[in-house]
Symmetry: D4
Subunit: 229 residues, 8 copies
Amino acid sequence: MTANDFLLDARRDERLRLSEAIFCSGKSPAQIAAIIDHAEARGLSLLLTRLDEARLAGLPPQQRHALDYDAVSRTAIWGQPHPLGSETRVAIVTAGTSDVPVAREAARTLRFEGFGSEEIVDVGVAGLWRLLRRVEELQRFPVVIVAAGMDAALPSVVGGLVGGLVIAVPTSVGYGVAAGGQTALNAILASCAPGIVTVNIDNGYGAACAAIRALGGRPARQGDQHGTS
Amino acid sequence: MTANDFLLDARRDERLRLSEAIFCSGKSPAQIAAIIDHAEARGLSLLLTRLDEARLAGLPPQQRHALDYDAVSRTAIWGQPHPLGSETRVAIVTAGTSDVPVAREAARTLRFEGFGSEEIVDVGVAGLWRLLRRVEELQRFPVVIVAAGMDAALPSVVGGLVGGLVIAVPTSVGYGVAAGGQTALNAILASCAPGIVTVNIDNGYGAACAAIRALGGRPARQGDQHGTS
Amino acid sequence: MTANDFLLDARRDERLRLSEAIFCSGKSPAQIAAIIDHAEARGLSLLLTRLDEARLAGLPPQQRHALDYDAVSRTAIWGQPHPLGSETRVAIVTAGTSDVPVAREAARTLRFEGFGSEEIVDVGVAGLWRLLRRVEELQRFPVVIVAAGMDAALPSVVGGLVGGLVIAVPTSVGYGVAAGGQTALNAILASCAPGIVTVNIDNGYGAACAAIRALGGRPARQGDQHGTS
Amino acid sequence: MTANDFLLDARRDERLRLSEAIFCSGKSPAQIAAIIDHAEARGLSLLLTRLDEARLAGLPPQQRHALDYDAVSRTAIWGQPHPLGSETRVAIVTAGTSDVPVAREAARTLRFEGFGSEEIVDVGVAGLWRLLRRVEELQRFPVVIVAAGMDAALPSVVGGLVGGLVIAVPTSVGYGVAAGGQTALNAILASCAPGIVTVNIDNGYGAACAAIRALGGRPARQGDQHGTS
Amino acid sequence: MTANDFLLDARRDERLRLSEAIFCSGKSPAQIAAIIDHAEARGLSLLLTRLDEARLAGLPPQQRHALDYDAVSRTAIWGQPHPLGSETRVAIVTAGTSDVPVAREAARTLRFEGFGSEEIVDVGVAGLWRLLRRVEELQRFPVVIVAAGMDAALPSVVGGLVGGLVIAVPTSVGYGVAAGGQTALNAILASCAPGIVTVNIDNGYGAACAAIRALGGRPARQGDQHGTS
Amino acid sequence: MTANDFLLDARRDERLRLSEAIFCSGKSPAQIAAIIDHAEARGLSLLLTRLDEARLAGLPPQQRHALDYDAVSRTAIWGQPHPLGSETRVAIVTAGTSDVPVAREAARTLRFEGFGSEEIVDVGVAGLWRLLRRVEELQRFPVVIVAAGMDAALPSVVGGLVGGLVIAVPTSVGYGVAAGGQTALNAILASCAPGIVTVNIDNGYGAACAAIRALGGRPARQGDQHGTS
Amino acid sequence: MTANDFLLDARRDERLRLSEAIFCSGKSPAQIAAIIDHAEARGLSLLLTRLDEARLAGLPPQQRHALDYDAVSRTAIWGQPHPLGSETRVAIVTAGTSDVPVAREAARTLRFEGFGSEEIVDVGVAGLWRLLRRVEELQRFPVVIVAAGMDAALPSVVGGLVGGLVIAVPTSVGYGVAAGGQTALNAILASCAPGIVTVNIDNGYGAACAAIRALGGRPARQGDQHGTS
Amino acid sequence: MTANDFLLDARRDERLRLSEAIFCSGKSPAQIAAIIDHAEARGLSLLLTRLDEARLAGLPPQQRHALDYDAVSRTAIWGQPHPLGSETRVAIVTAGTSDVPVAREAARTLRFEGFGSEEIVDVGVAGLWRLLRRVEELQRFPVVIVAAGMDAALPSVVGGLVGGLVIAVPTSVGYGVAAGGQTALNAILASCAPGIVTVNIDNGYGAACAAIRALGGRPARQGDQHGTS
């Protein structure tokens, strides 16, 4: 069960102008290694998400050392990311310190695809002044990603203050009724601010892909990377 | 099934310094009329909640006309409310127009028990400036009741701005994932603002009772009203 | 409880380049009429959503006749919509006939704000050929709104075929485990296609607002309309 | 608590033309060993499902070595499987690599009962071309098993393309709202494609049994295996 | 919003050897009438499901009178059903009287497609003798549809007694924790009997389609009916 | 769909020493009338539960007038109930006035089967003195049925004070998180008092049957009534 | 946090004729040891439930060795159980091998209180003949406890065959939609068999206590054991 | 990801007269250490909650030794708590031994902010006499915090007996339907006692903050501690 068990979507790049990422959490180290081998043989770059340290440790040493790994976001990049565009068009805002890993997954995905981003952390509404002093800055971005758990009041407040596309990412931060992010997700969907959109809980990767779609996609490049989900 | 079916808690007033209210929504007009008869015979005042217009119409005309009925909050007062105290110590804030019936139920309950209140409506966070210009005013109240549905981001923001007791009432306003107020309730419970408390969905009556408990209760009075739930 | 019960967000337009809409489903005809009066007195245009025929019938005749009402989407426009832009940049796709009211709410909101749209109906995946013959056409739109209920497989398929921003709107179409749109919503959020975003169940209005945000917002205009939620 | 705690359904084979399998996940190694002993004493073959490596390690060495164990599907066969029929009448399709263990459990169950199967992996709808090039092949099978997690859009698409019996198996692949397979299950049940059937989450064994039922059952054989659940 | 709002899947018959049915519950009488007009113009037969009496009354009289309507199952047939095959290969079993409408929807769908069926009613497990005396009869059918609500114990018992394909249809019969059929559905999915399959709550139509798929489909016929969902 | 749609469990009485009741809420007046006809032809007595006034009005006049109907509990008795035993061995306690219909259904079922009962109403724990003065009385009953909605704290308190069998019936009284009785049910199941048992929400009939089982059943009688569910 | 953290219900025995049990799963070894010390000092016997092997290992050796521990049910008895009554009046039936631990907890609780019981294992309805041959035997018991997980069809079948009090215990056996026993619980509550009662998931202790209540309680004894929950 | 990942709410103390606490459960030891460093550099005191022993062990030794750590409540205090006020105005009541950790978190929070409290443990309603003998004492406190899991009947009983502010904290104690505290929470919200308020499951910290708000807040002090969530 390795090489036979995956079939990369080799045509995604031309269709979507998005790279496929390898979502690692349901895969064995042997499967992940086989996919990297496949990419290496074809000269492809790859983004790996949800690669925890246990799975990383299970990869062959030469693969492990060649990866650009970030422990906070549990992402890894195999090969070269796309060249960075000149303008930073995405802001990433977090309600609290515990939301940073999700925000970082978005930032890493954006970077892999050639987009820079600006992170603004720990500006949850319990201390509203922290956000209010950044509003003018935020209003200049065409896309704002907001990662928030617990009651996720922050996306509603941001959505009422800035006119760009607001992509809220509910996070699994919290306990009890926070219910692994379900309350944050529902609060975002029921938001009183008009036109906020959202993605699955903790899905920083998806928020970044949506941002890229909204910004017109990534410029195509020959010999691009592919993946399997 | 009328007089045999209820047993008023005749000792509540002395124990709790709170009047029992008659929650009407599960009761037949005949049962409600029997309770009013019982109160009339003993010279008691009564607060009736969730008395919709259909049930009201089913009461005997002389009862119906003697009631002080408020259609917005669906509350009625039989007899005299308690004398109004001199100081207004409770503010009632609503996120939107649709939350007003719940806020009004709280205001009517407070008034019945002798407490005045100040209502501040339609200050939801999607237009944050509406709330921000009232903050100093709100900071002067020892108790602030906040009624909000949908994502209920308002209680979190209020709870981060004022130091008094914040009693949030989730309302059933909204659709889809708002789930009849469940999302608002969960968002309040998962709030990032410290020390916010809450009550059941749409329970303006309960919020008012909690406010009275926090303010040290109502001065006792002879021959007080009682009820059944 | 009419004029005192609402407070329009008079500054939304300048902040967000979006008009506030009046969400009518929790409001009484008297409240809605008061808001229209308020708009009329200030020369504002207004979009009213979730205005069912019963509420419409409860409005004063002169208001009722002056409204541009669409029964399918239950939307009404008071005054003039924004001038239509020259280019159609939004496609609206529906899985089945029953999803049309939600799609139409999006189309009406877009039109009110000055954006045209292209509707493509009844292309659910059970008869995949209906969608496949429209793919090239869809790939030319920067924003595609997809309304789908039941299993909501259509947004995943669309998201794998077009590279623009895909805003999926789950609808409450279906029965049993469809659960009023909750299954469609969850399927969209768990989609295997990268970067799909979503809004609350049946929220065609929100999808349209998100599209406008992604397209850079509406050009500001003097004396704009406002609303209350 | 070993030999006293189980009672094999010795008459299942004659009633159902299906062997009972031993579902191991709630049983101790001692209980499993006692059941194997019981089978050995009677010359029966046995299929064991959900036998994780920890439980396998807890079996007596002579049992452990005599088992035909497959780590991917966590199944083991004690004794001889039924002779393989000549025709392959079941296709097993998976949306992604992570769905393979469930598909393999179905394949192993089919093999144990004497049925061959054809596996087609990683053809999820996000890259639709992977499925479309296999449609004609799939249309030739009287039974198609489809294992899919996350949004489970694949069974709807397959169900709209092939006319045989489509048995969808929701898998627990995914995170957040995927909810351990509940969203996949609900999406399958709410499918817009007519006549798709389903089984419990991750229940590859059940899908295989249903396929056998639909194909008219397995030819009876003397001295067949039995089990306990 | 009539003729523009639907797009029949004209190719379903050739792909699936199944007719598309018109699911009426989310459609207006005007939409349904337009679809019937469309079928009439092309000489197609049509099956309409979930056609309640209010919608039926809203159809034009000439359509209404030409329909073969069954009030119990809320189904109607426009034009001629497929010719009845010679053999009855499907049994339909119900746990209680209240499950009959769902069973009848399955029987009507089968009949429309040219399949006869045998109904066995009110054999719920609380009076087990009623089922046990029919077991031998049931064992002769290659497909058994079982409709049951409440605790849905009947499909488990049937599944342990007969070897054919058992398609269980959970019904919304019951109250309290029965939860509109959710408990019946879950009990079926968690059944201890091997290889039982299921469909959405109250989905008699889907069970019939699955039976037809399992039986090898309906013989194709020229000029077949089509529909929209 | 009348006489063909039911099959009475004619052997229940001899097996269980319990009469089958006709649960009317999912049945049409025509079906109910056919069952009464069937009973009349055989000289059986019948208990009908959940017979609302609309269905009652749909019965033939001669049936309607011959029924002993109780509007509070929505039960009717056809023919003669069993002779009343000499001793009252069941107490029925209710937390509030709104729980009386459920309690009455239990009382009527007990009476039909020949058992008397003692009702003690409106002794919810918010006014604990009302219960405490009845404790000694309650301790003398071998079976105590407790009907309570909302938080259902009463069964826990009763279960800690009396040693007889406590059968708690959660009721659908309440709003918001009361969730149609689900919270009351869960609170009863999670009770800190040892050995409390429960039945479905609002199931006064089931509580009475359980009481009869615990009391050793009803003495058998020839020519007993039967029913269908 | 040891001796100060508990307060035994020293009067339970005289009120309820039931011993309090020590529910260990939320308590530290130090707390459990302090409670045993307290019992030892007063010469009390104690039943400990949910005492897993890790907590057992954390007790002082002299306590650990003096306990009568049963690993299957995770129960321990400190001191002497009540003397065994002469007649066995409770049967305990399990659907499968995995339900045995819950059944054993009931048996141990009964034994501690002086009641014998008869266990009948692995008679789930998938192989109905296993149960049917035991029916006459079961009909002789005044109380039958039935432990079943997954779909919990067994209690419905038993409840339709025996007239004694049927106490069903849902177990957490199963996966996917079995949902930790919630489906089994709901199926039991929605059972079509009349008068079945139930307790919390896996609560063998509670079922035993209910049986004792139904059997008239345990004869009082001086110097009885007490506990804390 | 340490110093960059947090932004303390330096102005909370002046706004709310409440200290911000550091909620540790989602933070790494490195993040917690950085926050303590930040506090040390500014001479601030800090309250840390949900600091389990694993995270504590991950702190630098000099920090670890300087903390005042309480293992039961998993709280730690860095620096000096606020000076203790002269009067004890808060009672903390627990239903069982397992609720003590939550109660202790409230007590520690109160102490940190300068408020004493009185703990009354293990007075759950199953042994009602334990509570009744403390009622007069409880009636003297202006604020009563009640921590209870399982069915949470205790807050309802307390709320019916004392007139002060009752802040109920549902705990995650229990199993099966207790559902991690959700049933306790819902029972509290649906309580029949008037004016009970609540907070998130296990949120002893929040209950203490609410108590402080109700008591008029803490006297301000220069150079106060701050935190991040």
